[in-house]
Symmetry: C2
Subunit: 125 residues, 2 copies
DNA sequence: TTTCATCTTGCAACAGAGTTGCGAATATAG
DNA sequence: CTATATTCGCAACTCTGTTGCAAGATGAAA
């Protein structure tokens, strides 16, 4: 996996953002850096590398965020933390260190968790 | 809000299904009943009426399920239960009576919850 | 039952998100 | 520096969902 201009720029952008970013936001922020398609391909690569994780927001918008708190960087590592989705500013934030507790029927085999709370973020409330 | 053929057929289909259904699945199951666009509009109406709830799966696929356990049928009522998404057969099931417990920073104002567990469903494991 | 305003439908066209094929450009190991 | 596998840009395409509008259906009231 090669280190290209587009890749490092996009990786930095995501790493420095406090909220998860969508393809559209990344495209706007890197204006003219590279083609739309390249952004999609770079994002796929970053996810494969385990540098970044992909979040599907409750409104269906796909966002990408840095794996700040993840020590395991294989592409299949789990993200057992809560995401917060602001209904006003549409920002998505990773709430690290907030692990939910639940019990469920034994017949199900769980391998991944996806927990998103919606409402107002500190900036909007 | 009127009672039409398309609406009642689609409502029955969703009500009788044990798993959440996507637009594509509904279209296949009602083959020729009505136009693609009508299905989208009927689904929107059913959600507005509070008869059905809309689920965005972890893979981004939009699914619709009956509000079995909901007594409140206003269009904004909350669904505080877990969804289970099978990675093999792609089915999405509502796990009623499984309420998760969690604590989070006070600065956030939560109004909605979205919790999906992925893995293998009883049929697939 | 007939009328009529209003809601619903079908069609066509459009919009946005993401994917694919391919030839050209380029990063990096040797 | 060269060779080669990776990455890029472009164009075209797919899939999902939306919108405008004319025609058709619903159901409440006369």
């Amino acid at each position: 996996m090669r280190n290209t201009n587009a890749k490092s720029e996009i990786q930095n952008l995501i790493a420095e953002s406090t909220v998860a970013l969508s393809h559209t936001e990344i495209q706007a922020a890197t204006k003219g850096l590279c083609d739309r398609v390249t952004i999609y391909r770079v994002l796929d690569r970053l996810v494969d590398e385990g540098q970044v994780h992909k979040i599907i927001n409750v409104d269906g918008v796909v966002k990408y965020a840095n794996c700040h708190s993840c020590t395991d960087h294989t592409h299949t590592h789990a993200h057992a933390h809560i995401h917060f989705s602001c209904q006003k500013c549409k920002s998505v934030t990773c709430l690290t260190d907030v692990e939910p507790i639940f019990k469920l029927p034994k017949k199900y085999k769980v391998s991944e968790m996806n927990f998103t709370l919606s409402g107002l973020c500190p900036q909007c409330s």
